[in-house]
């Protein structure tokens, strides 16, 4: 720590969870999932371009998407979406002054929901279909 002044170069420390509260863990999770989901959005849009190339291109791509590794990646995206979305609800609520005093409990509740949702989706993706 050479200098304690705020500096843009310290952005990596956003993701340092040491000595931090659930609020910051939520903030960290939200930033990471935000970046991840944005990347996914870009890829998703590009991949859907295969639809325009006709049935063969798209169905080959779908066959690839059914391989286990891609499925794991997809589950990660779903998980990220759940975490970001549910925590987003928490932020929206508290931003309008609702439930500010129970924001910790909201965080834990929504995180549990997100994990539960991930497990359910994972079960369907890997064992049902």
């Amino acid at each position: 720590m050479k200098n304690n002044q705020p500096a843009p170069g310290k952005a990596l420390r956003w993701f340092d969870p040491r000595h931090r509260q659930p609020g910051t863990w939520a903030f960290i999770l939200n930033r990471i999932t935000a970046l991840g989901l944005t990347l996914y959005l870009a890829l998703h849009l590009i991949m859907l371009g295969k639809l325009a190339q006709g049935p063969d291109a798209y169905d080959t791509f779908i066959a690839l998407a059914k391989t286990p590794w891609i499925k794991v990646g997809e589950l990660l995206v779903i998980s990220a979406g759940l975490i970001h979305g549910l925590n987003g609800i928490r932020i929206a609520l508290t931003s309008f002054g609702i439930g500010v005093t129970v924001q910790r409990q909201l965080f834990w509740g929504f995180l549990t929901l997100a994990l539960l949702g991930t497990v359910i989706f994972g079960y369907f993706m890997f064992f049902v279909h």
Partner: protein
């Protein structure tokens, strides 16, 4: 209670002038019920007269002695050594984050105080409205116009803990925003809202709630920022319907 004395090592951030900073260890015999600030003052008195640190009241009314103790913002005058380490343990003391370091543990509060002044932060408030609205009233109201010193002691710890203040020096910060909320609630002064209705104001907060976690004085800056957002939006909506201001 009679655990006798503890041996504790104070690991203190040192910086003088333009020289590079370093950490210096001071082994100390302490009473675990002593406060961290007592240990620091003793280091100055008996071990190293060049150590600089801010302090004044020693009972959490002045807000001068906020520091980073083992990585967490603490008001050192009311933090017992027992609460931050164990016998034989280490106490790491650093200056607050997100402030320029003048020397050792002393940070420059100029910008912070300027922002508090611009937010029209009150230091004396009516007793009846001195607590947070969601708290039970502390006192039966005897109808007299009692006033009291405000909860916010301007220690800067909320700014030190804020993940946004870490990178964005232009962010007004939790203390000034919380003060704006309180002053607006008490005075209804609309110009305060336009001061915070901007990118560096209420809309910059990312709901980390760290400020509230470290506040030693029940200010709950995060709650106040959220409330301030509501007040700003309410005011904007009112402006749409009544073209008064």
């Amino acid at each position: 209670m009679t655990e006798g004395h503890w041996h504790v090592t104070f690991c203190i951030y040192r910086k003088k002038g333009d020289q590079p900073p370093f950490y210096q260890d001071f082994p100390l015999e302490v009473d675990p019920d002593e406060y961290v600030l007592d240990g620091i003052e003793r280091i100055w008195a008996f071990h190293d007269r060049s150590l600089t640190f801010r302090h004044a009241c020693h009972h959490s009314t002045c807000g001068a002695c906020g520091m980073l103790v083992n990585g967490v913002e603490k008001l050192t005058c009311i933090t017992p050594i027992r609460a931050v380490t164990k016998n034989g343990g280490t106490i790491r003391v650093e200056p607050l984050r997100n402030f320029p370091v003048l020397s050792d543990l002393v940070v420059d509060m100029a910008e912070f105080y300027l922002r508090m002044e611009q937010a029209h932060a009150l230091q004396v408030v009516p007793v009846a409205q001195s607590t947070l609205p969601y708290e039970p009233p502390p006192f039966p109201d005897d109808g007299l116009p009692h006033q009291r010193l405000n909860d916010c002691i301007e220690c800067g710890m909320c700014v030190s803990a804020c993940p946004i203040a870490l990178t964005a020096s232009s962010y007004q910060g939790p203390a000034a925003l919380a003060a704006t909320q309180q002053t607006y609630s008490l005075t209804g002064e609309k110009s305060l809202l336009s001061l915070v209705d901007c990118a560096d104001g209420v809309w910059r907060c990312h709901s980390g709630f760290e400020c509230t976690a470290v506040c030693p004085s029940n200010v709950d800056p995060a709650w106040r920022i959220m409330e301030l957002r509501r007040q700003v939006i309410r005011h904007r909506i009112q402006r749409i319907f009544h073209q008064d201001r």
